[in-house]
């Protein structure tokens, strides 16, 4: 099976500091992959390189077999990469439903100036139907008309997921979804995500430093430390590796 996302030899440095050196990552369809590492490991840099927020010094990113370099962020999104944000990014002064609707409209590309002018730019019942499906999947149906400012952080995260789902992504990048959430909320989020993924069949790349979430949620993991890939493999095994433990916990010797 060919990889959905194949990032190979990614290097990036800022003012002489090597943030990523020669990192390879592959994500296969319908796979749940974790990218972990302590603070400053280069996770966010890698993430931004995938999305096109940062340009690569070296290496290439193939998505569905096609080279992504040079494509702006929005084009990559249209190509099928959805994302959520570590610091939640929602649209102010709108409703939950409108978050999903605008993503749906951009995806189906039926918006046009002349349609707007003639009053044909309003949401069609089909489009709304699709939005409600996703809302139901996420358990947000009751919040559809709620102003976005009235949502809790956990609900906001779900709205971000829903907004990304409306673009029908093949790969969903989750940027530290647990940050700011308590352990219960995190567990609930993980459950919902798992259910949604089972239904919609997309791959997930989870960038996270909450080990528990990664352990529960992902099948395969990559570990970054100081810009270097220090381990990769099935998550359960990776987390047992001494190099990973020392990167996270520091080295100390017990019982001396």
């Amino acid at each position: 099976m060919s990889a959905l996302l194949q990032a190979s030899g990614i290097s990036k440095s800022f003012a002489g500091i090597q943030a990523l050196s020669n990192v390879d990552i592959a994500v296969y369809p319908h796979q749940r992959v974790g990218l972990i590492g302590p603070n400053g490991a280069g996770k966010t840099t890698f993430f931004n390189c995938l999305l096109g927020v940062l340009s690569l010094d070296e290496g290439q990113v193939l998505f569905k077999g096609e080279e992504l370099s040079g494509l702006p962020v929005s084009q990559r999104a249209r190509a099928g990469i959805g994302r959520t944000f570590q610091r939640i990014e929602l649209f102010e002064e709108t409703t939950v439903l409108e978050h999903l609707f605008i993503a749906e409209r951009i995806r189906n590309g039926t918006g046009a100036f002349w349609k707007d002018i003639l009053g044909l730019g309003r949401p069609s019942s089909e489009e709304l139907e699709r939005c409600y499906e996703v809302l139901e999947l996420l358990g947000l149906l009751e919040m559809a008309q709620a102003p976005i400012e009235t949502l809790s952080l956990g609900q906001g995260r779900l709205v971000e997921v829903g907004r990304a789902l409306m673009t029908e992504p093949d790969l969903l990048l989750l940027d530290e979804p647990s940050s700011g959430l308590g352990s219960e909320d995190t567990a609930a989020l993980a459950n919902t995500l798992q259910a949604v993924q089972a239904e919609r069949e997309f791959a997930i790349l989870l960038v996270e430093h909450d080990i528990n979430l990664v352990a529960e949620f992902t099948e395969y993991s990559y570990v970054l430390d100081f810009g270097n890939m220090i381990a990769k493999g099935p998550t359960k095994e990776v987390l047992k590796e001494p190099a990973v433990r020392s990167a996270y916990l520091g080295t100390f010797e017990v019982g001396k």
Binding site: E89, F91, F101, G119, G121, P123, Q145, P147
Partner: protein, 721 residues
């Protein structure tokens, strides 16, 4: 030999450019100081300079004060006092507001301050009485140290005082405790406060200091103008911003160098450009106005081309995250009676108003009402660009003027019907808007506003002078005349017929704008305004959306400008479309309501009807049913509109939906709550609405109150249906 002449000319140009350069540097220093300590992009700096210069002028010329007390009063008392008041009353509470909203406030102040000063000191600019410098006969005595360029006394004083000012500022920063505190506040006000320093007092001090710099620069530069006009001083601000931008707005030494460099560049161009123009006569309008236009060209160039600026993000406080989130706007379930009542009120108001105008209005009132209708059309362009897209465009006047000039040129040269020319003009304006938006796309909010301001001034001082735009020399004599159109049986020379045409155009564009708001483009712009990264993550291309917004906005402005010119049967560029006028438009729309169509209508009415109806006391006269009973207070000076709306714009930071909109929403919410209490909503009404799902996809802020109906914000809606 040739080389020697060129070198001598260059040297002379540099000497010539030094005195203004030092003044620019002074302003740039003050500008950067304010920006660094409070994050305010103080476009009111020119107004502050003007106020000091005018007070100095008044003290010396009218009150016969000696130089020193006049200088002390205007520069060391009035200027810092204004700075302190602005900081204490306005900007201190807005430390965490966005840079764009602070910019809007500063624009409001730049209109209000001169008007307040002129009213308080009953100051009127007198043509021909040139402002005096610090020394007697400053423009008449010359010294020529190098045998190349004679410095006037004024210029020597300018250089000396500016140098002194820069040295004092440098010493202050380097050697004093308050200087150290200021540097700390620049980094992060909150961190500084955690270290036990009162950041707000430090920034108040910085405001007083930088305002004194502005005042000093105003007094020094004033002798260059023949007449003291506040508009001329806005030139000073643009220069300062250009110089400050050279230092990326963060470095004081670089701002100093930037000011000097700008003085030299202008002088060098001024020396050599006419020679280039000899070989290319079509460049003449450019070179003729080069001194005037250079700062704008430089500013535009810096802003657009300099990569450091393109990458520059707004100054953010590292600890801004600790601020509490803004209060939650809550939508409300609008009661059916309220919707009906509002609609009935609006319709009956329009019918009565229209009927009164139609039957009662004399030629003057007809003119004013028509003007209000057309201005509303123009203001809808601001609704699109500022209200929907959240971008501050300061060149809407130029877009409107393009519409006006197109109608003029089309009719003048090719006898094209003005009705057709309106559309052509709007298309040209849209094209210019789209072209202009491309280089500025990557810029952040404040820089974008500056680029548009630079374009507005560039259009004003260069483009208008081209014969194929402004008509050239002939139009100086004849004006830029525009005929009224005729269409079949309708002759729009008749004022009533033309009013009908204006209303039709307004209604069509209003409907289009409402449809845009509810359609894909409006929603795209709205989410883009709120979060660019999130918009990109769902596949929205910010560049395309912004180009569209600029083009649509310019199109509307072009139509409005063309209509205005046809109405007045003359383009009247200076009165109608000059850059300062466009600043007032923005302030007016923003202070009333930038996000709704009715906000644009209110702004149009306010622009043309507020002075004659309210300020002249006419309205009071109608109420008292006799003009003789109008109190002696009236007529109030028309300057009050600058003061009232300029100061109302101060509220933009807290209520970006506009003052009127905010007040209206609040009172409507109260009435609504009372209605709900008295007449509990019948559930059938809600369920009926639920059937139309499209109806309840609404925005929850101000727009909700204007939208068609009321079914939303009901969490149980799904369960019911």
């Amino acid at each position: 030999m040739v080389f020697a002449t060129v070198a001598e000319d260059l040297f002379r140009a540099i000497l010539q450019g030094t005195p203004p350069g030092t003044v620019y540097a002074l302003v740039a220093l003050g500008f950067v100081l304010t920006y660094k300590t409070s994050g305010v992009f103080n476009l009111a700096f020119g107004a502050q300079a003007y106020v000091s210069a005018a007070l100095y002028y008044r003290a010396v010329n009218d009150w016969d004060w000696p130089t020193v007390p006049a200088l002390v009063l205007s520069v060391f008392v009035l200027a810092p006092a204004i700075g302190l008041i602005l900081e204490r009353v306005i900007f201190r509470t807005l430390r965490t507001a966005s840079a764009v909203s602070k910019l809007v406030i500063a624009i409001g102040l730049s209109l209000a301050l001169p008007a307040i000063f002129e009213l308080v000191f009953s100051f009127e600019a007198v043509a021909g009485r040139a402002p005096t410098g610090l020394l007697p006969n400053g423009n008449g005595v010359f010294y020529d140290p190098f045998g190349v360029y004679p410095f006037s006394r004024n210029e020597l004083v300018q250089m000396a005082v500016a140098l002194l000012g820069a040295l004092v500022l440098g010493a202050l920063f380097r050697f004093t405790a308050i200087g150290l505190s200021m540097r700390a506040v620049v980094e992060s006000p909150r961190m500084t406060e955690l270290a036990g320093i009162r950041a707000d007092w430090v920034s108040a001090f910085a405001w007083a200091l930088s305002s004194a710099f502005a005042g000093l620069a105003g007094v020094l530069i004033a002798p260059r103008f023949n007449t003291l006009l506040s508009a001329d001083f806005s030139y000073l601000v643009v220069v300062a911003v250009a110089a400050a931008a050279l230092g990326r707005l963060v470095s004081l030494p670089r701002a100093l160098v930037g000011g000097l460099a700008l003085g030299w560049v202008i002088a060098v161009f001024n020396t050599f450009a006419p020679r280039w123009a000899e070989s290319a006569s079509f460049l003449e309008p450019i070179t003729d106005n080069l001194t005037l236009a250079m700062p704008f060209v430089v500013l535009f160039g810096i802003v657009v081309l300099w990569p450091a600026i393109r990458r520059a993000r707004e100054a953010t406080d590292p600890m801004a995250g600790v601020d509490p989130p803004p209060p939650t706007p809550t939508g409300y379930d609008r009661h059916r009676y309220l919707s009906i009542g509002l609609r009935a009120f609006t319709v009956s108001f329009l019918i009565i108003f229209g009927w009164v105008v139609w039957t009662q209005a004399d030629i003057r009132w007809m003119f004013l009402v028509t003007q209000a209708v057309i201005m509303s059309t123009i203001y809808l362009s601001i609704t699109v660009i500022t209200g929907f897209a959240g971008q501050i465009s300061l060149c809407q006047g130029a877009f409107a003027a393009i519409g006006g000039f197109t109608v003029f040129q089309m009719a003048d040269r090719w006898d094209v019907s003005p009705l057709l020319a309106i559309l052509i003009g709007a298309v040209i304006a849209a094209a210019v808007g789209a072209l202009l938006s491309i280089p500025v796309l990557r810029l952040g909010g404040v820089w974008l506003a500056l680029a548009t301001l630079a374009f507005a001034y560039f259009f004003d001082s260069v483009m208008v002078k081209f014969p194929w735009v402004g008509g050239g020399d002939t139009s100086l004599l004849q004006g830029t005349r525009v005929p009224r159109p005729e269409l079949g049986p309708w002759d729009f020379n008749d004022d009533k017929a033309f009013l009908v045409l204006a209303v039709i155009v307004l209604v069509l564009i209003s409907l289009a704008v409402i449809q845009l708001r509810e359609g894909t483009i409006g929603r795209t712009l709205r989410v883009l305004r709120s979060s660019e990264v999130a918009s990109e993550s769902i596949g929205i291309s910010p560049a395309k959306a912004r180009i569209a917004a600029f083009a649509i906005s310019a199109f509307i402005a072009g139509i409005g400008g063309a209509m205005l010119s046809i109405h007045q049967e003359n383009v009247n560029y200076g009165n109608n479309f000059a850059p300062a006028t466009a600043l007032f438009w923005l302030v007016l729309v923003v202070s009333l309501s930038a996000r709704t169509v009715e906000g644009a209508l209110q702004a149009g009415a306010a622009f043309s009807l507020f002075p004659p109806v309210i300020l002249n006391g006419t309205f009071l006269g109608w109420i008292l049913r006799s003009e003789e009973r109008i109190p002696g207070l009236f007529p109030i000076s028309p300057k009050w509109r600058f003061i009232l709306f300029g100061l109302a714009a101060v509220q933009y930071a807290r209520h970006p939906e506009g003052m009127v909109e905010y007040g209206k929403n609040r009172s409507l919410a109260k009435i609504n709550a009372r209605l709900h209490k008295k007449y509990p909503q019948a559930p059938t009404h809600n369920s009926r609405q639920q059937g139309q799902q499209a109806e309840h996809l609404q925005v929850v802020d101000a727009q909700a109150s204007n939208s068609q109906d009321n079914a939303h914000s009901n969490p149980n809606a799904e369960a019911e249906s």
